[in-house]
């Protein structure tokens, strides 16, 4: 489990050439919009990194984040990175289980006190701690205990970052995010359902190189990857601007690859790197595959009004309300109108003829 060899050596032993390694560092640098001059620094930092101890806590989650990050049809550097980071605790990936697993966690915490990285996926239920426990310990307790001496926390996936699916209305478990509970540690949110693998490694590489987390946006996401919304980087944007939309999934527009705005794409309000970095090593992303963006890296994306309702559509039946307004207004308007007519009729009925003598004010003596 534990291996004190530096990362560079480990990668070499795995058959990753120096050239390949440097190319990876250059890719990371450009992805994070760091200048080429930083590449050697990144290379040196990664090369000599004494794999930081990483404790991975999985709470109310579906394991999709782990799947995304560790899936490799062909070995990817992300995969290797995770294989060789001292992943001292991870439900899915670790060999140990039960008491032994918990003991390993506690040992890692003690040995790397204030230096280990805490990665969390899944949300934390607050309504009843019993909804999600590990070895009898509630998610809340375990999070607070492990976070206390962590160097930094990475909340992976929308569940850990914002509550995700469990948080969706009506939120039966009282699910909350990591930032709702931990207030005194540096936390990076890496949302997505799941997140893009290279975003993780980019954050880690940054941490290893500079000793701190990268610049974050107002929702705690690394700006390098979440600084633009999908809409602004989408290759179908020219169709949006020209007003060419698909209206169903198999119509002419869909076949021609037109904009999917009408089919519920949440691209304009979703910040992620899908449109540029894409998935499966740049193969494609949902819009390219013909399905609108779900907005999965945004808080409460499950409650944004329906995956297939276009953004401007109201989640409420506005037409019906408008009809009520019209009917109500008509009734009130007729009533007011009748009052008007009555008032005028009365004024006319009580009209006293204006005679010559009525044209001048009485002289007050």
């Amino acid at each position: 489990m534990k291996n004190d060899k530096p990362l560079g050596q480990l990668l070499k032993e795995q058959g990753v050439s120096r050239r390949g390694f440097l190319k990876y560092c250059a890719t990371l640098a450009s992805l994070m919009a760091l200048p080429p001059s930083m590449v050697p620094a990144i290379a040196e930092a990664l090369e000599n990194a004494r794999r930081p101890s990483v404790i991975w806590l999985s709470f109310q989650e579906c394991t999709g984040c782990t799947e995304s990050l560790t899936r490799s049809h062909a070995p990817t550097l992300e995969g290797l990175l995770f294989d060789h980071i001292s992943l001292d605790y991870h439900h899915t990936l670790q060999a140990a289980s039960g008491q032994a697993a918990e003991a390993a966690r506690e040992a890692a915490m003690a040995e790397n006190k204030d230096k280990y990285l805490l990665v969390v996926d899944g949300s934390i239920p607050l309504d009843n701690p019993g909804y999600s426990t590990i070895a009898g310990i509630s998610n809340l307790d375990m999070l607070e205990e492990v976070a206390e001496h962590a160097a930094a926390i990475i909340a992976v996936g929308t569940c850990a970052a914002y509550g995700g699916l469990p948080h969706a209305s009506p939120n039966p478990t009282g699910a909350v995010s990591v930032t709702d509970i931990i207030k005194d540690k540096p936390i990076v949110n890496v949302p997505g359902c799941p997140p893009i693998p290279v975003v993780i490694s980019g954050v880690l590489a940054h941490f290893l190189t500079f000793g701190r987390l990268p610049d974050l946006d107002h929702l705690g996401r690394p700006l390098a990857f979440y600084g633009n919304n999908i809409h602004d980087r989408c290759y179908r944007r020219p169709f949006y601007d020209r007003g060419l939309f698909a209206h169903s999934f198999d119509d002419e527009g869909a076949k021609k690859g037109w904009c999917l705005y009408n089919l519920g794409c949440k691209g304009p309000v979703t910040y992620n790197a899908c449109a540029t970095i894409k998935w499966n090593e740049g193969t494609s992303f949902p819009i390219e595959a013909g399905h609108g963006c779900l907005g999965c890296s945004e808080p409460d994306f499950w409650d944004l009004g329906g995956f297939y309702n276009a953004l401007p559509e109201s989640p409420v039946d506005i037409s019906r309300l408008a009809a009520y307004g019209i009917v109500g207004g008509a009734a009130a308007g007729v009533a007011s109108g009748l009052l008007n007519r009555q008032k005028k009729a009365q004024a006319t009925a009580t009209h006293e003829t204006v005679n010559l003598s009525d044209l001048k004010r009485e002289e007050k003596s």
Partner: protein, 220 residues
């Protein structure tokens, strides 16, 4: 509240409140006018006025002659700039048409977003010119009440926030979107209680004036 929740609220509850107040209020306004009506004209009329009424309905959008236009050049040009710009932005922008489609059940073709953007800029500049005019021209300043300035702001905000949102300027996009929708809802609520109602009542006014003149054989 995060931006997603707020966005959900403004597009849901917020819009509901605004639409109900708007429809209710405008119906009341219109019926109050119609039900007062106009007594039948017993004079020997040159025409029934209907043709003249329709003509005035449309032609009043244009100054009656060049001299009159010259005397009110700023108001005419900036007025056109604002109204045409506003109408293009509201009715020919793709996301807006999407909203209408969800409300009415039918939409119509949009024009390209950068072109709409140009009209938005024209509308914004026109509004600024009109504000300057309102503050400096003796007649308009004399006539102006606090309501005029409130309505100006209510008309300016949706255009400005929409422009900022589209160009991702200043605040994060979702917040601009929230501001934009809120400002539109604010404007909708103001409609029945301010001169904004003219958007509907002017057709009644023009009609009546056209008929009254047409009965006397005068085209206006």
């Amino acid at each position: 509240m995060n931006s997603g929740e707020l966005l959900f609220w403004v597009r849901g509850t917020g819009l509901s409140i605004a639409v109900v107040i708007f429809t209710f209020g405008m119906l009341v306004r219109l019926l109050e006018i119609f039900m007062l009506g106009r007594r039948r004209n017993l004079a020997e009329l040159r025409s029934n006025g209907i043709g003249a009424g329709l003509r005035t309905l449309i032609m009043r959008s244009i100054p009656p002659d060049r001299n009159s236009m010259r005397r009110s050049m700023v108001t005419v040009v900036a007025g056109y700039g604002f109204h045409i710009g506003l109408l293009v932005v509201i009715f020919l922008l793709a996301p807006h048409i999407q909203l209408f489609e969800s409300l009415f059940g039918f939409g119509w073709p949009a024009i390209s977003t950068p072109l709409v953007d140009l009209f938005a800029v024209v509308a914004l500049i026109s509004l600024i010119v009109l504000l300057w005019h309102r503050l400096t021209h003796p007649v308009v300043r004399y006539l102006s009440t606090p309501e005029d300035y409130l309505v100006w702001a209510a008309s300016f905000l949706p255009l400005l926030s929409g422009y900022l949102a589209y160009h991702h300027l200043w605040l994060p996009y979702e917040w601009l979107l929230v501001t934009h929708i809120l400002s539109v809802e604010f404007m909708l609520i103001l409609f029945p209680f301010t001169k904004l109602a003219h958007a509907f009542t002017l057709f009644i006014a023009r009609w009546y004036t056209g008929v009254i003149a047409g009965e006397r054989g005068v085209e206006t």
